[in-house]
């Protein structure tokens, strides 16, 4: 909204320079975004909050300036006999529904002379960015900016049958508005109509046929109140906006139509001549007299400081509130008609604190009462992120919304998807039920940027309908692709990401979270995935992405491996127990077994057999090497398992160890046809 410095000065005796006033207004809640010097005046561009439609006028801003500077606002224009006693001419106003239009006023002015506006008026409107049209139209605009009440002037002689009807448009009706556009109207659009046709879209814009031109001699001046929601919906539907609609949709001071209409009539008589021959109205402005009590105690309780009573009184009086001190510390405050927003004591406290200045309120640190407020999962999630970053994975943030097409191959129950009613694009069709497609897309983006190795994770929510109930839970998603260079002393090798990398990440994560991993199992599910079980709990899936999905994501000649883990389930398995185990008192001995085995034989079977056979002496057995290729013939693999022998109550002798070790080896030979290397 724009106002000018000189215009404000017509209502308040402002002594301070324009920039200082702008700063004061900003710090009172009318944020002055820009001050521009135009034709010797300063134009303030002010951002007006939606609760203060009364600020959408020069008078409204002037009231603030008055309260801020301790000055009185100058009285509204003097009355004149000519205006108070209009002629006896009749004009008919019919309102179809008083809810749509609580009040409609019309003044008829005859024998005017339409022409260019005087320079002062033209300059003032132009400094607000408005185009001067003619004196009548300019005056209605001028009064709109001055008072905040939108006005419209019709060419009276173009109206059929000396009447207006405020009604809903009929489907199929059309109107050429003054901007030259043809508007298609309907039941949800409120119009001003004459006997035959709509002549204006109520509260938004007038019609071309009835606009005031240089030929106009007689005018009908409209000032009304329309239902804010109806105006907003109408203008949205028509894709229109106007200074009038901007004000109507925010709410109009119920006392203003008549005042503004009188003010405009006065200026028109002065500048265009003519005679006021009729003042008609229909409906009533609902001005509710309301009073609110403001207490000194209330101010202190909310603000944390006292404000002297004199100061409080001056601030409220300056803003146009009528005050009466009923007893010490109690003010009875009468709310003016333009303050539709003030309903309770807190609203008055806001008024007082705003003008008093937030900067004058002290800063204190609240006294905190220590209390267990319950922690969410944020700490645990943070711990997971630390562990995963430590393992070289990078955190990503991807959109929670996704298109159905991207879910193909990831989600096969479309009925459980939660769709968005009003997406802006197909990418926002549904809430994602899995993280993986978004992560694969992240991989695809990075491969296009020529990244050799992509390792990313995200912890975010997934959403689905489960028996018509909305389920929203967080998941951990991981994606690996490509090969990572691993340096060692003699050079580097390429480490190609695969299932075992995912497994390693998940095992490490679980161990670090203190989840037992002894009963962690990976069960093949079809040709591309493993289900991850911790005991009986399904905690997630590992998968290798199918070729057709990768092609859809524009990933060529690369393998992508992903994991999706049910973190809430994992967190439920965290053990709070973490007992220390005593260090061994007796030394241990290590024996390695290098063997050749059939390729398809899982390592865990060998380990299990070794531990079983090793009875209590083999405490640990782990795979320390694995090899395929020459000189081992195809279909076989080399495996080295390291066995750790020890006892809790004695040092084991060579003989004891050898006895068991030989038994282990013969077992491996017999059961798995292992050949020692």
């Amino acid at each position: 909204m724009k106002v000018t410095y000189n215009w404000l000065k017509e209502f308040v005796d402002i002594k301070m320079p324009a920039h200082e006033l702008a700063e004061k207004l900003t710090m009172a809640g009318l944020e002055v975004k820009a001050v521009e010097e135009i034709s010797g005046d300063f134009v303030f561009e002010i951002e007006i909050t939606s609760n203060r439609p009364d600020w959408l006028s020069v008078i409204g801003v002037a009231r603030e300036a008055a309260a801020l500077t301790g000055k009185k606002i100058k009285a509204a224009a003097a009355k004149s006999a000519k205006l108070d006693a209009p002629g006896a001419e009749k004009f008919s106003i019919e309102i179809e529904d008083k809810k749509d239009c609580p009040l409609y006023t019309a003044r008829v002015i005859r024998d005017i002379k339409v022409g260019p506006s005087p320079e002062w008026l033209r300059i003032r409107l132009e400094s607000l960015g408005l185009r001067s049209v003619n004196n009548v139209v300019d005056i209605t605009n001028y009064v709109l900016f001055e008072t905040g009440e939108p006005l419209h002037a019709f060419d009276l002689d173009k109206l059929n049958d000396r009447m207006v009807l405020i009604r809903r448009a009929v489907d199929g009706e059309k109107l050429f508005t003054i901007d030259g556009q043809e508007r298609k109207l309907g039941r949800d659009i409120l119009v001003i109509a004459d006997k035959k046709n709509p002549v204006a879209i109520a509260g938004v814009m007038g019609g071309k046929d009835t606009e005031v031109t240089d030929e106009t001699r007689n005018i009908l001046l409209e000032a009304a109140i329309f239902d804010p929601v109806l105006i907003r919906r109408g203008k949205q539907k028509l894709g229109m906006t106007s200074d009038a609609a901007y004000r109507f949709e925010r709410g109009i001071d119920p006392a203003s139509p008549d005042k503004a209409s009188l003010r405009a009539a006065k200026v028109i008589l002065e500048l265009c001549g003519g005679e006021l021959t009729c003042a008609a109205s229909s409906g009533a402005s609902r001005i509710k007299e309301s009073k609110v009590v403001l207490t000194a105690a209330g101010i202190k309780r909310r603000l944390g400081c006292e404000i002297p009573q004199v100061k409080v009184n001056n601030i409220l009086a300056g803003l146009g509130f009528e005050i009466k001190e009923t007893k010490k510390g109690f003010l009875e405050v009468k709310i003016p008609s333009w303050r539709l927003d003030v309903k309770a004591e807190v609203d008055l406290i806001e008024e007082v604190s705003r003008i008093y200045g937030f900067a004058n309120i002290p800063s204190t640190l609240a006294r905190v009462v220590l209390k267990n407020q319950g922690d969410g999962a944020q700490d645990r999630i943070g711990q997971c992120k630390d562990i995963l970053c430590g393992l070289g994975l990078n955190e990503v943030v991807t959109y929670s919304l996704i298109d159905r097409k991207s879910l193909e191959g990831f989600w096969n129950t479309p009925d459980s998807l939660i769709a968005v009613c009003n997406p802006l694009s197909v990418e926002q069709e549904v809430m994602r039920p899995v993280l993986m497609p978004s992560l694969v897309r992240g991989v695809s983006h990075n491969l296009k940027q020529k990244q050799e190795y992509v390792s990313i994770f995200e912890i975010a929510n997934i959403y689905r309908l489960d028996a018509n109930r909305i389920q929203e839970e967080y998941r951990l998603g991981i994606c690996l692709c490509g090969s990572k260079p691993v340096w060692f002393d003699k050079g580097r090798i390429q480490d190609e990401a695969g299932f075992l990398h995912l497994k390693g990440i998940i095992e490490t994560l679980l161990k670090r979270l203190n989840v037992r991993v002894n009963d962690l199992r990976f069960i093949a599910q079809g040709a591309y995935a493993f289900q991850v079980l911790a005991g009986d709990n399904d905690i997630g899936t590992l998968r290798r992405l199918e070729r057709k999905i990768l092609e859809r994501m524009e990933i060529k000649n690369k393998e992508v491996f992903g994991a999706e883990i049910d973190l809430p389930k994992v967190f439920s398995l965290i053990s709070t127990e973490n007992k220390f185990s005593p260090l061994p008192k007796f030394p241990f001995a290590v024996r390695d077994i290098s063997m050749v085995l059939s390729e398809g034989l899982p390592a865990e079977k060998i380990i299990k057999a070794i531990l079983d056979k090793g009875r209590d002496l083999i405490k640990e057995a782990e795979v320390v090497d694995r090899y395929q290729g020459k000189p081992i013939e195809p279909g076989y693999k080399g495996l080295t398992v390291s066995c750790r022998y020890s006892s809790d109550d004695r040092t084991l002798t060579e003989a004891e160890i050898n006895l068991v070790h030989d038994a282990v080896i013969s077992c491996l030979k017999e059961e798995f046809s292992a050949r020692l290397r």
């Binding site: 809640g29 939606s50 807190v346 309120i361 319950g374 430590g390 070289g392 943030v397 919304l401």
Partner: protein, 341 residues
């Protein structure tokens, strides 16, 4: 070969060995996996029990002797001790270490902000992203006809409405205020970080998904002065002790009085630049005293309790702090970007 013949062979072998290669050959011959000494060791299990001990001891002595001789010879050959040398190392080669992954800049900033409030006794809580109309609007004193409820400003979901109205994607983390107060009694001091959604067309400064942190403190005798003190502690902790702050009156339906908080521009130190639009100030958050109607909606007595609430955009603060000029970078997940944090 028995122990004695091995000893003899060793005496003969060690003299002529005059190079590192020759020494390595000897090391393999005696100590290698199939070497002479391991061969001796492997015979131990076949010996009578009473002999095993003394034989094992002799083998061990022999092994020590071999190692000592080899070491001595190596020294006499004047072999450089590689461990004590720096000349053979090209220290300009890349260091050998696994690179750590990075946290997303939004996580870094959100943590930094939450930590600041934790120091003051706030707890971090969270709420769902799919919300009811009640928690997103009605409970927060936003009138039925308020424009923010329209489909231009809020994503609605195609699921049957529940007892708290239509389902939607929360357009602000203030929903957590309502949730927290519905289930807990004062005193209350919480911060809630999370994703929020609004149907904005994506460009350099808009995203249909972004992040906010909401804060709420409620007790008897919580005042606007406390709001100022707490937010000053936070802002100075995040942006530096030397910043200036101002509380500018504003309007939010769920607070009264309401204030927007500006800090002196961290780029130009308040002189005016393109980042702050020549104003010298950067708006960083919205705040205010909880509106009595919000307390009534959650069943708190507004005559007994007062409180303040605040909310801020994490993406915006991350962009300001890291100098990121395009919000889309935060969601593109380009590793070249992510690895800078």
């Amino acid at each position: 070969m028995d122990i004695d013949s091995i000893k003899k062979a060793l005496e003969q072998d060690i003299g002529p060995a005059d190079s590192a290669e020759a020494l390595e050959e000897l090391r393999l011959k005696y100590l290698g996996r199939k070497g002479l000494i391991p061969q001796l060791t492997s015979t131990i299990p076949g010996l009578p029990v009473q002999e095993r001990g003394s034989f094992g001891k002799q083998v061990n002595e022999l092994k020590n002797r071999v190692m000592a001789l080899l070491d001595e010879k190596q020294r006499s050959l004047g072999q450089p001790d590689s461990q004590a040398q720096t000349s053979g190392v090209d220290i300009s080669l890349p260091g050998i270490c696994q690179d750590l992954g990075r946290r997303h800049p939004l996580t870094l900033i959100a943590n930094e902000i939450c930590d600041m409030f934790k120091k003051m006794g706030f707890s971090v809580v969270e709420g769902p992203e799919i919300e009811s109309e009640y928690n997103n609007f009605t409970g927060l004193n936003i009138p039925m006809e308020h424009p923010s409820r329209e489909a231009f400003d809020t994503f609605y979901l195609d699921v049957p409405a529940g007892s708290e109205g239509k389902y939607l994607l929360r357009s602000q983390t203030s929903t957590v205020q309502v949730r927290a107060m519905k289930t807990r009694k004062p005193p209350l001091a919480i911060v809630a970080p999370g994703r929020v959604f609004r149907p904005d067309a994506v460009d350099a400064s808009h995203s249909f998904m972004f992040h906010q942190i909401e804060g709420l403190m409620v007790d008897e005798n919580i005042t606007f002065a406390d709001l100022k003190g707490v937010l000053e502690f936070f802002a100075k902790g995040i942006f530096g002790q030397d910043i200036k702050m101002r509380f500018r009156p504003h309007f939010f339906p769920f607070t009264e009085p309401s204030a927007e908080v500006d800090i002196s521009c961290i780029i130009c130190k308040g002189k005016g630049c393109s980042v702050c639009g020549k104003k010298g100030w950067l708006e960083i958050l919205g705040s205010g005293m909880v509106h009595p109607n919000v307390f009534r909606n959650v069943g708190y007595d507004p005559d007994k309790y007062t409180g303040f609430a605040f909310g801020m955009g994490v993406d915006r603060i991350a962009m300001l702090k890291y100098g990121i000029n395009d919000i889309r970078l935060l969601f593109e997940n380009d590793l070249r970007f992510l690895k800078q944090f």
